[in-house]
């Protein structure tokens, strides 16, 4: 049974996103003046022309911020509005308010930034050469790579590039703010993290957090883009409301959003891999130059996930990996589904491909030989439990009939001149938990009303992943109450405090557990009362489908009656649940510990064809075997896998985020930045789930599903690379994504790309 009421409303256009909400009386519209070069010193911000446009126009700059002009919490390097220097092209420099949006935008264009241009760096390696890092580098080491390389039959080095990726959440960033009675600030924000937004607003307005209320309704997509970076827009709206004393709405258009906000981090990396004659990987080294952009933002946590996923799904005994956070004059790159892991997966898979090329051992043989096994320890000392790498990989080989498929492809390529085929597999092993340990906590508030209906509030933001539906399922199963009696409310800082963002695939794990704990507490109280009414001990009382059972026998007592009786007996029908993921630890000095509650496993195979004249390609099929645990909602989880795959394929093949060497954004509209459309997707998509497995860290043995499948898209790159090699065996391999048709054509022509 499904709780589809809210979903059906979405489809029918009845959900109110930020820009659809009725505006409070007197609401002003805000626009931002974005910088129009990548780096400069502010001499003066001239507002005369903007103010002359219309009497309703107000211009607000950094010096007007009443509190601390700073919203960076991992490092104080992010002024809400800069007072001295702008650091990327598209940075908000002034906030403009007016009676309507057109006037605000027109006035924003008239704000003049008088400044002195400063040198621009866009290449992370150049920043590294200048030692311009956001924070110190991070190295994880295990065994002795140098010694191990001496004993390897093959040692290969190479370079890997991966591009940035724009989120293209279809609802752009926005917020609506008003100052209410007593100077209390109320903000509705399109954010994954209302508590972070609340903190940023409080700090910039100089208020205690209890004077700021932030509410998040359903988001029109987020994918990480509204984890940290929603704070800017909400804080600006709040600043506008605070200064103008009127409600203010700020809603970016696509062009502004694509210029001003961060995206997935581009990486440039070096690897060195060493293996024995039989393909056993003995040593791996990598240096990751993360293009962090202009500020710290979430870069350290993202880099953490990179260095913690350096060996992909493989056990490698000798490892040395180092990550550098390189400061550049580009928008501050930020969280995006996968959070630094896809970049690491692409490096290790490139290294294995290079090893295969050098040794002649097929990639799949190297992959299979080196997969994690039960009881293995990772290079950071985490003992792997319930490992399913082989289970997923072997099933995929069987399902795709991999060896005969290879023979068919080679036969096809022998006969076909203008179209060539290629296939590739990627195994995935993805750690679940926030890499920043203190973030692995969640709270939930559950009320049972006297009519028996249940209301749940958690920190989980609904943004399309149907986390509300999953939490409702957890509550329904825990309380033994039908789903239609349960309502999961939007998140506000009033009901649940100090929430972590809904991110890192942990939304339903953490918030589901917190809701379950609250429900168990209420149930314990109710079982006492039910026992009393039924003349039984509470231990033999059971709740199921709205009825109360005694010794497994259905009684006359219903949930609704019990609630009335419990209320009359003055029993508390509300509870707050709190969950902190147990057994996590990490020693940052030693770089050893257990940073993840568990891992999600899987494998994907992609078959592609390339037009050897044009370099264009088609994705023929994708087959996936995925470890989903006990799914709380199979259609939702399938939808998550399909959506993640599309984003992974988009990142690997199509989405070409470009900046000029002067830092100018070159792909800042949907006409210049291409995301997958329906015709881009593989012709057939086959997803199979591994059997259920115990997973004590989550409600009902479910598993997180948001991010792990994004990695599957990387197989698209290698499938096309293999097809290109069939067309031009002398082609020079480059490990650079996205592998656009332009680059593919370059490979066919023998160009160095």
């Amino acid at each position: 049974m499904k709780n589809i009421a809210e979903s059906a409303l979405n489809v029918r256009g009845q959900t109110q996103y930020i820009d659809d909400l009725p505006e409070p009386a007197g609401c002003l519209q805000a626009a931002v003046r974005l910088s129009d070069s990548a780096h400069g010193r502010i001499i003066a911000i001239k507002t005369d022309k903007a103010l002359a446009l219309d009497p309703s126009v107000q211009v607000i700059t950094g010096k007007d911020v009443p509190g601390v002009n700073q919203i960076g919490f991992n490092k104080p390097d992010e002024p809400l509005l800069p007072e001295h220097e702008w650091e990327y092209w598209g940075q908000p420099v002034a906030l403009v308010l007016a009676k309507n949006r057109e006037t605000a935008r027109a006035a924003a264009k008239l704000v003049e930034i008088e400044g002195e241009e400063l040198p621009v760096v866009t290449d992370p390696r150049e920043a590294a050469r200048n030692s311009d890092f956001i924070l110190p580098s991070r190295t994880i080491q295990c065994g002795d790579t140098e010694e191990a390389f001496k004993h390897c039959a093959y040692v290969i080095e190479g370079r890997v590039e991966s591009g940035g990726q724009e989120h293209v959440y279809l609802e752009t960033q926005g917020a609506m703010a008003e100052v209410r009675e007593g100077g209390k600030v109320f903000v509705i924000s399109s954010t994954q993290g209302p508590s972070g937004v609340q903190r940023a607003i409080a700090q910039s307005l100089g208020l205690p957090m209890n004077m700021v209320e932030v509410e998040a309704r359903r988001l029109g997509g987020a994918f990480g883009g509204k984890e940290d970076q929603a704070a800017t827009w909400a804080s600006l709206a709040a600043l506008g409301a605070w200064i103008s004393k009127k409600p203010v709405k700020l809603y970016l258009n696509r062009h502004e959003d694509m210029r001003a906000t961060g995206k997935r981090h581009p990486y440039s990396s070096d690897f060195k891999i060493g293996a024995a004659q039989d393909g056993t990987i003995l040593a791996f080294e990598a240096d990751y130059y993360q293009n962090s952009g202009s500020t710290c933002d979430l870069s350290p946590a993202i880099l953490a996930r990179t260095v913690l996923h350096a060996t992909g799904a493989y056990k490698i005994p000798n490892v040395r990996v180092t990550g550098y956070m390189c400061k550049t004059n580009l928008p501050s790159f930020t969280a995006f589904r996968g959070f630094g892991a896809p970049q690491a997966f692409f490096v290790i898979e490139s290294a294995i491909d290079a090893l295969s090329q050098a040794s002649g051992i097929p990639v799949v043989e190297i992959q299979k030989k080196n997969l994690y096994r039960e009881g293995d320890s990772t290079y950071f000392g985490m003992e792997m439990e319930r490992v399913r790498a082989h289970e997923a990989f072997d099933r995929l080989l069987e399902k795709t009939q991999w060896h005969s498929l290879q023979a068919e492809i080679s036969d096809f390529n022998h006969k076909s001149r203008t179209v060539k085929k290629g296939a590739a597999i990627i195994p995935v092993c993805f750690g679940i938990s926030f890499t920043k340990l203190p973030m692995n906590q969640a709270g939930a508030l559950v009320h049972v009303y006297v009519d028996g209906s249940v209301l749940v509030s958690t920190g989980a933001i609904e943004m399309g992943q149907q986390v509300s539906r999953k939490i409702a399922t957890v509550v329904s199963e825990t309380l033994g109450v039908p789903l239609e009696n349960i309502r999961v409310e939007r998140t506000t800082t009033l009901t649940v405090a100090n929430t972590v963002p809904t991110a890192a695939s942990t939304g339903s794990d953490l918030n589901g557990m917190a809701a379950r704990i609250a429900c168990l507490e209420i149930k314990k109280r109710l079982a006492g009362k039910a026992g009393e009414l039924l003349g039984a001990s509470p231990e033999v009382v059971r709740f199921e489908n709205g009825m109360i059972f005694k010794n497994d026998e259905k009684t006359e007592l219903s949930w609704k009656d019990l609630i009335v009786k419990a209320n009359e007996a003055r029993i508390d029908l509300s509870a707050h649940g709190f969950y902190a993921t147990p057994d996590l630890f990490y020693d940052m000095k030693a770089e050893r510990g257990k940073p993840f509650a568990y891992h999600v496993y899987g494998a994907a195979a992609v078959v592609a064809t390339v037009d050897t004249m044009r370099g264009t390609y088609d994705l023929e099929s994708v087959s996936i075997v995925h470890d989903i645990g006990h799914s709380l909602d199979i259609s939702v989880d399938r939808g998550q896998i399909e959506g993640a795959l599309a984003q992974g394929l988009g990142w690997s093949l199509l989405e070409d985020l470009r900046f000029g060497t002067d830092g100018k954004p070159m792909s800042d509209t949907l006409s210049t930045y291409k995301v997958p459309d329906i015709s881009f997707m593989p012709r057939t998509m086959d997803i199979e789930f591994l059997p259920e497995i115990e997973n004590p860290a989550t409600p009902f043995n479910s598993k997180a599903v948001g991010e792990p499948p994004l990695q599957y898209g990387i197989a698209g790159y290698f499938a096309i690379l293999n097809a290109l090699r069939a067309a031009n065996p002398a082609g020079k391999t480059f490990y650079s994504i996205p592998l656009t048709p332009e680059k593919a054509a370059g490979f066919l022509d023998g160009a160095e790309v």
Binding site: R12, G13, D20, E171, R218, R254, G464, P676
Partner: protein, 151 residues
């Protein structure tokens, strides 16, 4: 200037500037079920039916709709509800922001094409971007919805 539109069967008169696009005019008049995605005619989010034909309303100067009939998702309530159930069943409802435009285009396709093949469906729907579903669930929903219409 003032233009006359018939929106979801109801005649209205709205004031607008000559350069205003239809999305903004409709939203300002309270039809916020028409969402704006890109503003450049690339994503299909803002699709409405103009005399029954799907158009990206962000790329249509409102004045050109003067005297015409506009259908938004709210004008096809019963059909939208029916199609919504198929989307939800396939895990393809997700964030919902693209759904109104997508659904209107599906309904237009249903009228225009008799028993379209999967390739024809893909061709028809290629202008409707979705960032959540990877299209696979949407495609299943469309195929099953169209099949159900024939039964």
């Amino acid at each position: 200037m003032t233009i006359s539109l018939k929106v979801n069967g109801k005649p209205i008169k709205v004031a607008c500037n000559p350069g205003d696009v239809l999305t903004d005019v409709l939203r300002n008049a309270g039809f916020v079920e028409v969402k704006k995605g890109c503003g450049t005619g690339n994503c299909g989010i803002c699709t409405v039916l103009l005399d029954g034909v799907p158009v990206p309303s962000c790329s249509l100067i409102a004045g050109r709709a003067d005297g015409h009939e506009i259908t938004t998702i709210r004008g096809v309530e019963a059909e939208a509800k029916e199609f919504a159930d198929f989307l939800v069943a396939e895990g393809a409802d997700q964030c919902g922001f693209c759904s109104p435009g997508f659904t209107l285009n599906v309904l237009a396709m249903k009228k225009e094409l008799k028993s379209p093949s999967v390739d024809e469906i893909k061709h028809y729907m290629a202008g409707n971007l979705c960032r959540c579903t990877g299209y696979e669930g949407q495609l299943r929903a469309v195929v099953k919805y169209l099949e159900a219409q024939h039964e």
